[in-house]
């Protein structure tokens, strides 16, 4: 027998990182990838949060992302990598002789190597009133929170600064419903990234979106009594302001470095190895100054992170070499790109291509047969190709004539995007944000067997930040996988378990008489034994829809909310929403709800957007008892948790309202009584307004009814979610009976045709309004048949699921533990 005596673990060097932002963490990640065990790492952060994607503050402000979605490294990541995170406690002192850092809270950590990534501070113009409440910068999540708070009550926002950050803030605040004025000191917007022509196009587009842009605007002061009220310009103009955002630039935060005696100019001075004047101390990010330049864009900072990672890992490397940088504006719907020396100058030639019809503008700057800069507006697809030409310092004299038309037309690679990607060299950059090259993506595809965009994103980070290179990444995938890659070729399969698409599956279920999930999987050659969390709920719904009354619902193929008839919350508790028909309630119902809240210690009651009450924080084991009490007062499940009919929102209508033309509440109640309990491809919301003032917001619902003097307007396909879509007018009808018939027919068409998890809005965009009109409006018999099928299926779905579980004891295993074991 041999005995292995474990060698004592070599004492690791101590790395202390000051700063917990994107630059710091990217460097640490790079180091861990190269030398996972080389250092014991401690990270100090001033903000009390984990590392998040600061580039995504704009989508956060605009409501396109949540904070959770922009987190880059969550607490588990720090734990998993054995990194000590000291958050919310800034480092105030570095003792370089003793090699110890000290925080404001008195925490001390000795170091062998120290990495400074203290970032930058937003510049605040020291004009009178700059410190009034309501004046913010746009730098971190706290700033966004202040802006969102201000935007809640609408009003006027004044954004000082028409650069990248200012315009993103302006767009976000406009999207949040504020009226927005942008003040810019220079003559055209984004003058550091755009030439005047593109700046002009951008200004026109922003004004079209309802923003006011004032160029040449020099702010003199901000006034207000207890908070901001007005902004005054030097030319005498005064603007009302409920919120002022200063987005005029950033300044490297080098104070800590300065106080400990490191060499500092505008930023902390570093060499190509990112070493400061103290050889044991490195620095990177927006706090440094390298060869006279302070970088603020993400791409060069990722390059710095590579140099830091390699250096700390003890590798021989070339150090940081800033390449041509490029900029993209992250304002949805505006495609804008610039790179290099786009302003031109002596000895430069401009190649300009304008297309008024498409609203595009391209300007390529060439000097001595080399591309040195580019500005693209409206069509930015070729941006990375121009950057590639710049970095490669390539002679473009042979392709000069077609240069502005883009890569597809230049250099004989043909008008084939795949050919164009094939022609790129391996070190060509595909993802500018994360610095991922074509070669790195190809290597990951080969080594890890990746086959989808999502997988490539997960493994390489390509297209993971701003996402604008997703198309390019797909082309790299197509190039690597050839015929095996089916991105845009034909309909997408339901999931990874099958090659069949949704429409085929639905068709086969009916034509081959498939009546159970295993039967579908067998007949359609599923490649997994029992599917996955994507396909099983879809199949369960398709079968339920195809065979009402015959198919037995498969609980194990439903998402938890539909299994326990309540909404799971992030802490594992549930929320309960009783149905309030047409938004009407009574003293009896309210009293019963109040009693339930007190009896079960329910921590929060909230009024929903659908005119009901939501009880939050209910323990799972309490659900049946809560339902029993609500049932006793006559209330049933509101299905607020289901891919099903949710609410019918109504206004008070002619019963009370002096403008009301019809009894909208009564109509809403009738529709809800008719449709409740119905399972759908996705959630389905309705509303009835009693007059065209439309107080029930019927024109952003899946099915909206608006009363007019002569009858009812029927609207379909609206959505108030992530992507707002106003309804399309389906038709006008005169009688109440017609409203109900058209409603039943429309719902049934959607139930039978849409893909699982497809709302009516994208469904109608996919199949076209004309298709819906042809089936529901023009075809009288077809409409009656659809409605009849809907009503027939309702006979099997209008049993209150709460009552079945509260008094009927159904699925009791869902609400009780298997066992309780104690010592």
């Amino acid at each position: 027998m041999t005995h292995h005596t474990k060698a004592p673990y070599p004492k690791r060097k101590r790395l202390v990182v000051v700063g917990n932002g994107m630059a710091a963490l990217r460097a640490v990640e790079d180091l861990l990838a190269r030398a996972p065990d080389a250092y014991a790492i401690t990270i100090f952060g001033a903000e009390p949060r984990v590392n998040y994607n600061r580039i995504m503050l704009s989508p956060l402000l605009a409501g396109e992302k949540t904070f959770e979605e922009i987190v880059l490294n969550d607490l588990d990541w720090y734990a998993a990598n054995g990194i000590e995170l000291i958050g919310g406690d800034p480092v105030t002192c570095i003792d370089r002789d003793a090699r110890v850092v000290r925080s404001a809270g008195g925490v001390e950590r000795p170091y062998d190597r120290l990495l400074l990534a203290t970032g930058s501070n937003p510049i605040v113009i020291p004009i009178p009133g700059h410190d009034l409440p309501g004046v913010v910068t746009f730098r971190d999540v706290d700033d966004v929170e202040v802006m969102l708070k201000a935007a809640e009550s609408g009003g006027h926002a004044v954004v000082i600064g028409g650069g990248l950050l200012g315009l993103e803030a302006a767009n976000g605040l406009r999207a949040r419903g504020m009226s927005v004025t942008v003040l810019h000191l220079m003559d055209h917007l984004m003058e550091r990234q755009l030439d005047p022509s593109a700046g002009h196009l951008l200004r026109e587009e922003l004004e079209r979106r309802g923003m006011t842009v004032l160029t040449g605007a020099d702010t003199a002061s901000i006034t207000g009594t207890d908070r901001v009220g007005m902004v005054h310009l030097k030319d005498g103009t005064s603007l009302p302001a409920d919120l002022v955002v200063m987005a005029v630039g950033i300044r490297p935060n080098a104070r800590l470095a300065q106080t400990c005696g490191l060499e500092v100019n505008r930023g902390i001075l570093v060499d190509d190895m990112m070493t400061t004047s103290d050889p044991e101390i490195l620095a990177l990010g927006e706090c440094v100054e390298h060869r006279g330049v302070c970088h603020g864009l993400v791409a060069p900072i990722w390059e710095m992170a590579k140099a830091v990672g390699a250096g700390l890992a003890g590798e021989i490397h070339d150090g940081f070499r800033p390449g041509a940088t490029s900029t993209k504006l992250k304002v949805s719907g505006i495609d804008l790109f610039s790179a290099g020396a786009f302003q031109g100058g002596e000895g430069c030639e401009d190649i300009v291509l304008r297309d008024a019809g498409r609203g595009t503008y391209k300007r390529i700057v060439v000097r001595e047969d080399k591309v040195i800069g580019a500005v693209l507006y409206g069509d930015t697809q070729d941006g990375s190709w121009y950057v590639q030409l710049m970095r490669g310092n390539e002679d473009v004299s042979a392709i000069r004539d077609s240069l502005a038309f883009g890569q597809a037309f230049a250099g004989g690679s043909g008008a084939n995007p795949k050919g164009a990607v094939a022609a790129l060299s391996d070190d060509a950059e595909i993802c500018g944000c994360n610095g991922v090259s074509k070669g790195a993506i190809l290597a990951a595809i080969a080594e890890k067997g990746l086959s989808t965009l999502e997988e490539v994103r997960a493994h390489t980070k390509a297209s993971g930040s701003c996402g604008s290179c997703s198309g390019l990444v797909e082309q790299v995938l197509a190039l690597a996988l050839g015929a095996d890659y089916q991105a845009n070729s034909g309909p997408k399969p339901v999931c990874g378990c099958t090659h069949q698409d949704h429409d085929t599956v639905r068709r086969m279920i009916v034509s081959q008489d498939l009546k159970s999930i295993p039967a579908v999987m067998q007949a359609l050659e599923w490649t997994t034994p029992d599917g996955c969390a994507k396909c099983r709920p879809a199949l369960n719904y398709y079968l339920l829809c195809a065979w009402p009354g015959e198919y037995e619902d498969h609980a194990a193929s439903r998402f938890i909310n539909e299994r326990v008839h309540a909404n799971i919350q992030k802490d594992g508790t549930y929320s309960v929403v009783p149905r309030m028909w047409g938004g009407q309630t009574s003293a009896k119902e309210l009293r019963a709800i109040a009693d339930v809240v007190e009896k079960f210690n329910i921590p929060e009651v909230k009024v929903t957007g659908g005119q009901r009450l939501d009880l939050f924080g209910v323990k799972k084991e309490d659900l049946p008892a809560v339902w029993a009490d609500l049932n006793a007062a006559g209330m049933v499940s509101g299905h607020a948790y289901g891919k099903s009919l949710r609410t019918v929102k109504t206004c008070v209508g002619s019963t009370w309202c002096r403008f009301g033309t019809q009894d909208s509440t009564g109509m809403g109640i009738d529709l809800e009584r008719m449709t409740w309990g119905s399972w759908m491809p996705h959630k389905f919301k309705m509303a009835v307004s009693g007059c065209p003032r439309n107080c029930a917001e019927a024109t952003i619902k899946d099915f909206g009814v608006v009363a007019v003097d002569s009858g009812w307007e029927l609207h379909v396909g609206g959505n108030g979610g992530i992507k707002v879509r106003a309804t399309d007018l389906l038709c006008k009808v005169t009688t109440d009976a017609e409203v109900k018939e058209y409603c039943g027919a429309f719902i049934q068409l959607y139930r039978e045709q849409a893909h699982y998890l497809e709302r009516t809005a994208p469904w109608i965009e996919r199949v076209g309004l004309d298709f819906v009109k042809a089936r529901v409006v023009d075809d009288t018999e077809g409409r009656a048949a659809l409605n009849a099928r809907f009503l027939a299926s309702q006979e099997y779905s209008q049993t209150d699921p709460w009552a079945e579980r509260a008094s009927g004891g159904k699925d009791s295993h869902e609400f009780t533990p298997l066992a309780r074991v104690e010592g």
Binding site: D76, A458, A533, S557, F559, K570, H813, A819, V821
Partner: protein, 111 residues
């Protein structure tokens, strides 16, 4: 080595729905016991390594479960996240003997 394991008889296999899961309470974190489509039994700590979601509430497919909060897929046999996600929710030894489910519960369940 197995001498240190203490097996607790918690239930009959039929007490757990097929393609489903139920929990054992009494310890620091509940333990989720899973029954797959082919009647294999697995147990893990009922906390997704991602955000602590209750894995027992997820959809069970193959020998995996998809967390109900953010769709992480956890391999029931190893308790490890699959695909690009990384993390482990804590494997709990479980076996079936004559139709009964035996689980080796963590220390916090006492005893």
């Amino acid at each position: 080595m197995d001498q240190s394991l203490r097996w607790t008889d918690v239930a009959a296999v039929e007490d757990i729905p097929r393609q489903g899961s139920r929990v054992i309470t009494g310890g620091a974190d509940p333990v989720a016991v899973f029954r797959t489509h082919d009647d294999q039994i697995f147990a893990l700590i009922d906390r997704c390594p991602h955000k602590g979601g209750p894995l027992s509430q997820g959809i069970v497919h193959g020998a995996s479960v998809t967390c109900p909060l953010h769709n992480w897929v956890i391999d029931l046999a190893t308790a490890e996240a699959t695909g690009p996600d990384e993390g482990c929710s804590g494997h709990v030894p479980a076996r079936v003997e004559r139709g009964r489910v035996l689980v080796c519960l963590p220390q916090s369940f006492g005893g």
